[in-house]
């Protein structure tokens, strides 16, 4: 009953001062619209950077590190406390960077639970020659179907097809910046020279772009057997195993487990991309700070307006108290007004925020070769809209509560005596 009469009074107050109500509402609307736009855009950027970096790198990479320190043989054989050995120019042990039984290991890892895909590969430094142009880069011999499963190569292709590599044993899918530097197009031939001296003429059957400079201007994919042939190695020779997990967070313990199991070095995505992850954290903090500032500013706006409202209505409050309304009724009257303003302003803010985010997401954004997007990255996440309306309500309720508590403490005698 009291609730009914207090809401009725609150409604009458709001309707009587339509413009003031609207101004208060727009304060909330602006704050929340900006919050939604900000967070959708910032998170979109984060997501994009994370995707473009992490999509192109394995969750776990297993490889054999060849430059391991080893004690000199003489130290092992001729140890004594009274003398010491001096060795100049010790050469590292002649050692291949191969993973022994690599294909078998890959097959076994593929059967582990939580693993999305495994791609064994043979990767080496090469020189790409086309006439006078010589560019150093890398070549990865892969099973292109498996590699596609890990990195979604199909969507990264700028020309050619994956099938072309499978049907052409001497095919090459090349980073599109590298191809441009070499001045080759799909169908052209390029000579590939390995550090050990092997040379082979390969035909470019496609180009790809990951949006990451170090890949796009130096890397090529070829069939595993082709690279084994250039290096004059057997069919079981591989140097890397790339692994993608279903849950990327599982990669870190999984990598540790693999290292203990097989004795080869493993590197997980978090270590490989620590700079990107740190950047993301900084951006998250920044987004949070800016969003909070917007909401707090909007909150102060409402506080001011509610405060003025209470001061303007002080005579009415005195009358209500004189005719029998209690302090908590007065609080309710003004709190209802604040909630109404917060809710309606907030919903309008969500709508405007969504519209702004949408407009941003279709704005053309040309960044040149490396970045693969055509418009600004924006994500539409219901969670942020929920947060927006929740924060909006909390700030308005707080901003409305303090003035209304003041209103409830008004001494009617001092007002009514004039």
């Amino acid at each position: 009953m009291n609730l009914k009469i207090t809401t009725q009074i609150a409604r009458t107050h709001l309707m009587a001062k339509k413009r003031q109500t609207l101004v208060a509402m727009l304060g909330v609307t602006f704050g929340i619209a900006m919050f939604i736009t900000m967070i959708s855009f910032m998170q979109g950027v984060n997501q994009f950077l994370e995707d473009s970096a992490l999509d192109a790198s394995p969750h776990v990479r297993m490889y054999n590190e060849v430059n391991t320190q080893r004690p000199a043989l003489i130290d092992q054989l001729n140890r004594s406390d009274s003398a010491f050995n001096v060795i100049y120019h010790q050469k590292p042990k002649e050692q291949l960077s191969r993973l022994k039984n690599g294909l078998l290991i890959a097959r076994r890892i593929g059967r582990e639970p939580g693993v999305l895909g495994v791609s064994p590969q043979l990767s080496t430094q090469v020189f790409y020659n086309n006439g006078p142009i010589q560019i150093s880069g890398t070549i990865a011999g892969v099973d292109i179907d498996r590699e596609n499963r890990l990195y979604n190569l199909k969507s990264r292709l700028k020309s050619g097809t994956i099938g072309a590599l499978q049907s052409n044993p001497n095919g090459l899918i090349m980073g599109h910046v590298l191809a441009r530097k070499l001045n080759v197009h799909t169908g052209d031939k390029v000579s590939v020279t390995t550090p050990t001296g092997g040379t082979m003429i390969l035909r470019v059957v496609g180009t790809f772009g990951f949006g990451i400079g170090t890949l796009d201007n130096s890397k090529s994919y070829a069939n595993l057997s082709t690279v084994q042939e250039i290096l004059q190695k057997d069919a079981g020779y591989i140097t890397d195993i790339h692994i993608k997990m279903i849950d990327p967070l599982q990669a870190i313990p999984f990598g540790r487990k693999l290292r203990a199991m097989y004795g080869y070095y493993t590197e997980d995505w978090a270590t490989a991309n620590s700079a990107i992850l740190a950047g993301e954290q900084i951006r998250n903090v920044m987004t949070f700070v800016v969003s909070m500032t917007l909401l707090v500013v909007a909150g102060f706006g409402i506080y001011n307006i509610m405060n003025m409202n209470v001061i303007n209505k002080i005579k009415d409050i005195a009358i209500l108290k004189a005719t029998g309304f209690e302090g908590k009724d007065i609080v309710l009257i003004f709190l209802f007004q604040a909630i109404f303003i917060g809710l309606l302003g907030g919903l309008l803010g969500l709508l405007i925020g969504f519209t702004l985010s949408y407009l941003l997401s279709i704005t053309p954004f040309n960044t040149g070769d490396f970045i693969t997007i055509k418009t600004f990255p924006v994500i539409f996440e219901p969670k942020y809209y929920g947060m927006g309306i929740l924060f909006g309500l909390i700030t308005t309720v707080l901003a409305g509560y303090f003035p209304s508590r003041k209103a409830s403490k008004v001494d009617p005698v001092s007002i009514l005596r004039g």
Binding site: I9, T12, I319, A322, T323, L416
Partner: protein, 228 residues
């Protein structure tokens, strides 16, 4: 005669700017259905006394009983409820809520009381407005009424919950002769017909002359009490 209000040994101090005793050991009683006027020069403490009786001012020494209920020393929420049900007020400067219609202004205290349904409250509010001759203005915003009309609506509002006592602080203070006459007649009628008690602070000698009893105050004390 049944006593409806008992005030005993009221002492009240103002502390700003200096300590000053406004009321000095004031005691009196009021009968049910009595039309009482409190008169005196400005600053004699008559308005202060009225606000103590109204239960809105609680900082005083003494004992207040209305309708047999002890009211001194009670908390604010209890007093709000008590005012709502048992007391009606008419102030000098009419004091209606400007955003509400005449009818809504009259209905508000009854809706707060919650004794009747909204329909019944509306019906009763119309009856009160009819009594004061304002039923034609029921749907008008109260800010659009003249001073005299607003004062009459304020009386209707004071009467809506059928209070035991109606209190008025200079209820005719800024009204012309015609309106003063109308207001006085309404008070006179409700005291006689409904046996509701009226306590009014006034400067107007004509108004006081028409009351059942006049209490005269000076320097915070009751100096005389005589029946007309």
């Amino acid at each position: 005669m049944e006593k409806v209000l008992k005030a005993s040994h009221f002492n009240k101090y103002f502390y700003e700017p200096d300590k000053f005793q406004v009321l000095k050991d004031v005691s009196f009683e009021v009968d049910k259905g009595e039309f009482l006027a409190i008169v005196g020069k400005s600053g004699c403490g008559k308005s202060t006394l009225l606000y103590l009786l109204s239960t809105m001012d609680t900082e005083y020494e003494g004992k207040l009983e209305i309708n047999g209920q002890l009211l001194s020393g009670r908390n604010q929420d209890f007093l709000s409820k008590f005012r709502n049900e048992h007391l009606g007020f008419v102030f000098q400067f009419h004091f209606l809520l400007p955003e509400f219609t005449t009818l809504q202004n009259v209905m508000l205290p009854a809706l707060k009381l919650g004794k009747y349904s909204e329909k019944e409250v509306e019906h009763r509010a119309y009856e009160k407005l009819k009594m004061i001759g304002m039923e034609d203005h029921a749907k008008k915003l109260s800010s659009k009424l003249s001073g005299g009309q607003q004062q009459r609506v304020a009386i209707a509002r004071a009467l809506i919950n059928d209070p035991t006592i109606v209190m008025g602080d200079e209820p005719t203070g800024n009204l012309d002769k015609t309106n003063t006459g109308i207001v006085f007649d309404i008070f006179r009628e409700i005291a006689r017909e409904n046996h509701q008690t009226i306590i009014a602070v006034t400067h107007d000698p004509d108004f006081a002359a028409g009351c059942d009893r006049v209490i005269e105050m000076s320097d915070g004390m009751i100096i005389s009490s005589h029946e007309n």
